[in-house]
């Protein structure tokens, strides 16, 4: 069955339908990872977006039970050059097509995805629609132009209620802005006693849990659409050690009066080199963001840039100059992508550790 992808600039791609038989509109973005499509399409940060993968053969190893990053994928559509119909891998359970069908996500295959990528690269991210072949492009283009970008993605993907993921170690309050399971997995691997909280949790609610640390998760969309989180961060920083990833990083910057801006087409892939400015070392990182912290705005804050993207020099890591708080724009939990930055979770826990010691030392001082 034929299907089409229509972009707001008027480009029309005709291809084959797969996945769910629905029409969807979304922001079209590309990801350059050659593996990890299951993780990508279940990453809540893609909420409302239509994702194209630059690698042409997708679905080769099927869909397995283990590699989901959320229970219900939030992407609006999936674009590939070729969707494998005979996947092969020992963990394979269902095909990509079957999975997308069951989750109500439309897909389109058989199009020149490199051409699409180049359009996005030149034009910047743009709106698009995956729709039935009968639809008139002019009408769809009008509709696309009239579509206002959503602002409620975080609300859509965040948990509605708090829930625990118990462990015997440090207590971490994990604020879910559209959290990838990978973050929870890394904390659980380190035996953390995690409480996952909805995005609109307040500072006092967090403090009531008496956590050893607060983790700000990744999530979709514009950080400025979640003002409640900015307020929450302002209420906890300095009181509890803090670690933020992706949207969590941007929210942390906003909470400290830095600014964020939309990028032309963002960073999405598994091969982004990030340099640690303190050691000069480069880590290959997994990234997925369309917004970035504005460089100049850092000057008016109490923040220090710790990491930059090697290629475009955008900010990839921040640290508070006074409080125990640091954040990264990329994904140390990987899944998918390289685990080069995985050590950050350990750094988070050791920061908590040293804070505790300092705290105890302070208490002792007070006693004397």
């Amino acid at each position: 069955m034929k299907r089409q992808l229509i972009l707001e600039d008027g480009t029309v791609f005709k291809g084959e339908a797969f996945g769910s038989d629905t029409d969807k509109i979304g922001e079209v973005v590309f990801n350059t990872g050659m593996t990890g499509y299951q993780e990508i399409l279940s990453d809540p940060s893609y909420c409302g977006q239509i994702v194209t993968l630059t690698y042409p053969l997708i679905g080769n190893y099927g869909i397995n039970r283990d590699d989901f990053e959320s229970i219900n994928p939030a992407i609006s559509g999936f674009i590939v050059k070729e969707a494998a119909d005979c996947p092969s891998n020992w963990r394979n359970e269902i095909s990509l097509d079957e999975m997308l069908k069951s989750k109500g996500i439309p897909g389109i295959s058989g199009i020149d995805t490199r051409k699409l990528t180049r359009i996005i690269r030149r034009h910047g991210t743009l709106k698009g629609a995956i729709c039935r072949i009968e639809k008139k492009p002019e009408e769809i283009i009008e509709q696309l132009k009239a579509t206002v970008a959503p602002t409620d993605q975080v609300k859509r993907v965040s948990t509605k209620t708090a829930y625990p993921s118990p462990g015997r170690g440090k207590r971490i309050a994990l604020v879910d802005f559209g959290m990838k399971h990978g973050i929870l997995r890394e904390l659980n691997d380190r035996d953390c006693d995690v409480v996952v909280l909805p995005y609109n949790v307040t500072a006092s609610e967090i403090l009531l849990l008496n956590p050893d640390g607060v983790m700000l998760s990744n999530g979709p969309g514009n950080p400025k659409d979640v003002p409640e989180a900015i307020e929450m961060i302002q209420g906890i920083q300095g009181k509890v050690p803090l670690f933020g990833i992706c949207l969590g990083h941007q929210l942390f910057a906003l909470a400290n009066r830095a600014d964020t801006e939309k990028m032309k087409f963002g960073h999405r892939g598994s091969n982004h080199p990030v340099q640690d400015l303190r050691t000069g070392k480069v880590a290959l990182t997994s990234q997925n963001h369309g917004y970035t912290v504005q460089r100049e705005s850092i000057e008016r804050t109490n923040l220090e840039v710790t990491h930059i993207a090697l290629n475009d020099k955008t900010i990839e890591g921040l640290k508070h100059k006074e409080y125990p708080a640091f954040t990264v724009q990329y994904h140390p939990e990987a899944s998918p992508g390289p685990v080069d930055a995985n050590y950050l979770f350990d750094e988070f826990l050791s920061m908590i550790e040293s804070e505790k010691e300092e705290g105890e030392a302070k208490c002792q001082n007070v006693q004397i």
Binding site: M34, G36, Y55, L57, Y61, A84, G269, V282, S335
Partner: protein, 1068 residues
């Protein structure tokens, strides 16, 4: 980190001659490295014995030594040049081994030479089996369990620990004789018992078998800041068990989930960090298809064939950056040369599929064992890029030039044979799988037989299944688009649609079903990139922008094979450079990932495409070049000339008609007659009777060969009528459609000449004389420059004939001529209207840039305007020899006898002031050890006995002992030459094979090739020599040359003569 300033001069060791397992990839790596080091301001000294390479051009390094890569010669150069540092990791195993040898001999310490890149201790830890296991255990990286056992009981204990299946390898047996895989106790007992018996030390190595696992490779790089990246990962189509050089390889991996990909990436990075490699490294891993269990198979702490493939597959130039890392630069401060805007510290993202298929020499060696295993047998490879796996593999198939355009068989085969060929991997397995699928064999059955991943088999099945759709829908627009997107060739479509290739092509063109070209940019289009590196595919957007500049297309020479080696890539690259110099846009089309010509920085535009007519025409249709150059790409390019002209393409240089005149026997004869140049008498026979008559008329010996086979295959010299009859019965099929050519065989000196003509002037850079008499393929002969035994009259005659031929055949560009000098007469044997094997050799010796001049002549410049005049260029001082190098040890069952069919894989050069010294260097560089004493085993055919006597006498005088069987021995004894008699094959324990096995002979001379029993015995002697690493000479001329060297090295030991005449002479 900035580059090192404590070093100024760097010695780079090349990889020497092309042999199986070490081919053009090291010319590519070495050339890139030398240029990179020079770019950084270092003085580069290069040593490489292989003249047929770009890297040994004097522009590539500051000083180029074409000398043997042996301790003796490299030490000499180090002592002379006093380099500050040595970069050993770019010259393959040869370069690495040499560095280790130099270190062990104390030369590096003595001369204060530092090792760059990777410490030798790290190299040792990667290469020494035990040290490697220890390191892996320390790192917690799994390696297959193994143990040495001395008894069946010990073997059973081992299996209790690791479980079946296990591989048994008896210690110290050649080629793994007596080993095997055991899946149960019965097999284990049987194989271990046998293995212990066949092992001279009664030991077997037992290893947990991982055959059938997925074989995955990672190309990784690391700098001295410990930044480490993966450039590319690759998945072998063939599971573990077949050497990766003999495997079909796909990049990136296709069946690995991200978790598996990252798990193996982590292991690879951990290993390169532990080894502290500064540069590139290749890690081979085996992954269980049913779990996360994996094993590290091997680590190559250097650039390799795989890194060349990874460089071409991704665009990321590993060798260039490895060289810069070696001098201290780090990945985060170097730019990615492809984008020019992003950094080298980056992992390329591919948005296409790459397939590599090896090219094997079994078309040349029909008797060879075609089974694939752990010993690599391929001489070269092709790579193809597509947006689907199907497209990529089918493009690779038609790049092979194996006469096939599709996954099908050339000849009928039974179901049983098909199953057998799929179960036991050979070079044609892919094609047998195609046929099996066509016959309805289930994918599961093929998987069961081959263990090839279902993903690949499903893809192949899709291809085969689509054939039916195509057959039912001839000239259907939609279906044709789909078929082309799956990589179907026009030839295949034509077959299915019962039409011819050209009609399909024209129809497609009319319908606009033509490919677009996409860029290989390392980043999947994320960043803008100006790299002019393209591949074709059937999609929407074309990225190859045609410029306003006038352009010239150069066709490359495809995969390296016997008879078409790296020397054609050399000429191709020089032609491209000359075209650029002349102000045109130079566009290259080639499909060999190993070569310099497919480095995107060489040409203005590189199209990595099959050299099949449709693929070449698509590019020409797009680029509309002023013409196409076919002279430099060997037979591959020449073979396309006719089809190009048919399609209205302008061939630059010698015209198609004239190309044909040189290659078509009848037309060539006419031309020679018109020019008054003699050629050996010959005629064409279409029946056995006629053949006998012709041979009688010409007189024996005669040279016979089928007219329908190229490249000297099945060519033979026959001395008698019964030999002729035997040949006619066994070697060829003769009938009016398949005539046999019969020529007079002239025993004489073979001479080879290369010349350049612009139509007016004919420049002859040099004449080369072959050591071996006519009858040995020129590629397998030792060539000497300048000729040592030709009179000036003969030379003049050769120059005269050459000029006449060049003009008479209207050559514009290069030509290569082979002559036989018999007495005072000069006969033409062959004219090749193109670049030849000797072009780089002669260019380097004479400083005449032959490919450059030829290209300029092709582009319309006169040779005079370029500063050259007609005639022979004055001879250079010194003597230069080109010595062939063979890869026989890697090709079992191949007869090593030199004859009209070429067998060598590479060559080396020896240069010095006398012939003997030059020969010494050439022979040593080719791997023959020359000792001043020892034993020679002599077994010669009856016709050679008189000549052999002379040689035996001289060996004896040098102090060599002679060993022979009774027949030869009695003649030697009669002539008063002391000889040790050994038994013939099959007799007693101490027969001549034992002499070889026990290392009692240092040299074997064997000319037993005629007649059934002698041939069989002679074959066994020759193979035994090869397998024991003892030089075996099958031409008395080669023996004589070695003898000359030995004689020049030693003083004679002759008793005083009695009543010597010379005294009388002296006193008068």
């Amino acid at each position: 980190m900035p580059k090192r300033t404590d070093i100024k001069t760097i010695l780079v060791i090349g990889s020497g001659p092309i042999v199986i397992g070490q081919a053009a990839e090291f010319d590519y790596a070495g050339t890139q490295a030398c240029i990179a080091l020079k770019e950084e301001g270092y003085k580069v000294i290069l040593i490489n014995s292989n003249p047929a390479t770009i890297m040994t051009d004097t522009e590539i390094a500051d000083k180029v030594y074409i000398e043997p890569i042996t301790l003796e010669f490299v030490s000499k150069i180090i002592r002379k040049e006093r380099p500050d540092a040595l970069l050993p990791t770019l010259g393959g195993q040869t370069g690495l081994n040499m560095a280790v040898e130099l270190a062990n001999a104390g030369v590096l310490e003595e001369c204060g030479v530092k090792i760059l890149g990777t410490e030798l201790s790290a190299i040792e830890r990667a290469e020494d089996r035990d040290l490697f296991r220890t390191l892996m255990n320390e790192l917690g990286e799994p390696v297959p369990d193994s143990d040495i056992v001395h008894s069946v009981a010990e073997a059973l204990q081992f299996v209790e620990r690791v479980d079946y299946p296990v591989i048994v390898r008896p210690a110290f047996t050649l080629g793994g004789t007596g080993g095997g895989i055991c899946a149960n106790e019965e097999e284990l007992v049987e194989i271990v018992t046998g293995g212990l018996k066949s092992s001279p030390v009664h030991q077997c190595l037992l290893e947990k078998s991982i055959a059938g696992f997925k074989e995955i490779e990672y190309e990784v790089m690391r700098d001295r800041n410990d930044n480490a990246i993966v450039v590319c990962n690759m998945e072998n189509f063939d599971p573990v068990g077949i050497h990766t050089g003999d495997s079909i390889v796909v990049a990136p991996s296709q069946t690995l989930s991200d978790r598996e990909y990252q798990m193996l990436r982590n292991a690879s990075l951990k290993i390169i960090r532990a080894l502290k490699i500064e540069g590139g490294c290749n890690v081979q891993l085996a992954l269980d298809p049913y779990s996360f269990q994996y094993y590290v198979i091997e680590v190559n702490p250097r650039v390799s064939r795989s890194s060349a493939l990874a460089s071409k597959a991704t665009g990321y130039p590993i060798a260039k950056l490895a060289a810069k890392i070696a001098v201290g630069l780090t990945l985060d401060e170097m730019m990615n040369p492809v984008t020019g805007k992003t950094y080298a510290s980056f992992e390329p993202a591919l948005d296409y599929v790459v397939t590599k298929i090896p090219r094997w020499p079994f078309d040349k060696f029909e008797s060879a064992n075609r089974k694939l295993g752990t010993q690599m047998k391929a001489t070269g490879e092709v790579m193809a890029i597509g947006r689907t796996f199907e497209e990529s593999i089918l493009k690779a198939v038609r790049s092979l030039e194996g006469g096939l355009f599709h996954i099908e068989l050339g000849e009928p085969a039974s179901d049983r044979l098909i199953e057998k060929r799929i179960r036991t991997a050979g070079d044609e397995r892919l094609f047998y799988i195609g046929e099996a699928l066509r016959r309805g064999t289930s994918i599961d059955a093929i998987h069961e037989w081959s263990r090839i991943d279902l993903f690949f088999l499903h893809k192949l099945h899709k291809i085969v299944a689509f054939e039916e759709t195509l057959r039912e829908n001839p000239f259907d627009h939609e279906i044709a688009i789909k078929a082309k997107g799956m990589g179907f060739s026009d030839a295949t479509l034509a077959g299915l649609w019962k039409t011819d290739e050209r009609s399909v092509y024209e129809w497609r063109k009319g319908k606009g079903i033509v490919p677009v070209y996409k860029m290989v940019d390392t980043c999947a289009a994320e960043f803008e990139s100006e790299t002019p590196y393209f591949y074709g595919t059937y999609e929407e957007e074309n990225e190859s922008v045609v410029t306003n500049r006038e352009s010239v297309v150069v066709l490359g020479s495809g995969p390296i094979r016997i008879g078409q080696g790296v020397e054609f890539d050399y000429a191709t690259v020089h032609s491209v450079w000359a075209i650029k110099e002349a102000g045109y846009e130079a566009i290259i089309i080639n499909n060999n990932p190993e070569t310099v010509s497919t480095d995107f920085s060489i040409s203005d535009k590189l199209y990595f495409e099959p050299l099949a007519i449709e693929d070449v025409m698509h590019i020409i249709d797009l680029e509309k070049p002023m013409g196409v150059v076919v002279q430099f790409g060997g037979q591959t390019a020449i073979n396309l000339a006719a089809k190009l002209v048919e399609r209205g393409v302008n061939i630059l240089g010698t015209s198609l008609e004239d190309l044909d005149r040189a290659e078509n026997r009848d037309k060539f004869e006419q031309a020679l007659r018109a020019l008054g140049i003699p050629q050996p008498k010959g005629k064409t026979a279409t029946s056995v009777n006629q053949a006998v008559q012709i041979a009688e008329g010409i007189g024996y010996p005669v040279l016979v060969r089928p007219s329908y086979v190229l490249g000297g295959r099945a060519m033979e010299i026959v001395y008698k009528q019964n030999e002729l009859l035997y040949y006619m019965e066994n070697a060829v099929k003769i009938n009016p459609d398949h005539p046999v050519l019969i020529d007079r065989y002239l025993t004489g000196k073979e001479i080879e000449v290369d010349a350049i003509s612009d139509g007016t002037d004919v420049v002859i850079p040099g004449i080369m004389e072959h050591i071996e008499r006519a009858g040995v393929h020129s590629g397998d002969s030792i060539a000497v420059y300048p000729p040592q035994s030709l009179s000036n009259e003969i030379k003049d005659k050769i120059v005269d004939y050459t000029s006449k031929l060049a003009k008479g055949l209207n050559i514009i560009g290069l030509l290569n001529i082979q002559y036989v000098v018999s007495g005072d007469e000069v006969f033409v044997i062959e004219v090749n209207p193109r670049s030849s094997r000797t072009v780089p050799f002669l260019s380097k010796i004479t400083n005449v840039p032959m490919a450059n001049l030829a290209t300029k002549a092709i582009l319309g410049n006169s040779l005079q305007s370029l500063g050259y005049t007609s005639g022979l260029v004055p001879e250079k001082p010194g003597v230069f020899v080109k010595v062939p190098v063979f890869s026989f040890a890697k090709l079992r069952r191949v007869d090593i006898t030199l004859g009209p069919e070429m067998k060598s894989t590479g060559e080396v050069m020896g240069k010095d002031y006398t012939l003997e010294k030059a020969l010494y260097k050439g022979l040593v560089a080719s791997g023959i050890q020359i000792k001043d004493h020892g034993s020679v085993l002599l077994t010669v055919a009856d016709k050679d006995k008189q000549e052999a006597l002379q040689i035996a006498h001289r060996f004896s005088n040098c102090g060599y002992r002679l060993i022979a069987t009774s027949g030869t021995a009695s003649i030697l004894t009669k002539a008063g030459i002391p000889v040790q008699v050994v038994e013939k094959i099959g007799v007693s324990d101490n027969n001549l094979l034992d002499v070889i096995r026990n290392g009692e002979a240092q040299l074997v001379i064997n000319t037993l090739t005629k007649g059934k029993q002698p041939e069989r015995d002679g074959f066994r002697i020759r193979r035994e020599s090869v397998e024991n690493g003892i030089p075996c000479l099958t031409s008395l001329d080669t023996a004589e040359a070695i003898l000359r060297v030995i004689e020049s090295m030693t003083f004679s030991a002759e008793a005083m003569g009695k009543a010597d005449q010379s005294q009388e002479v002296a006193y008068t």
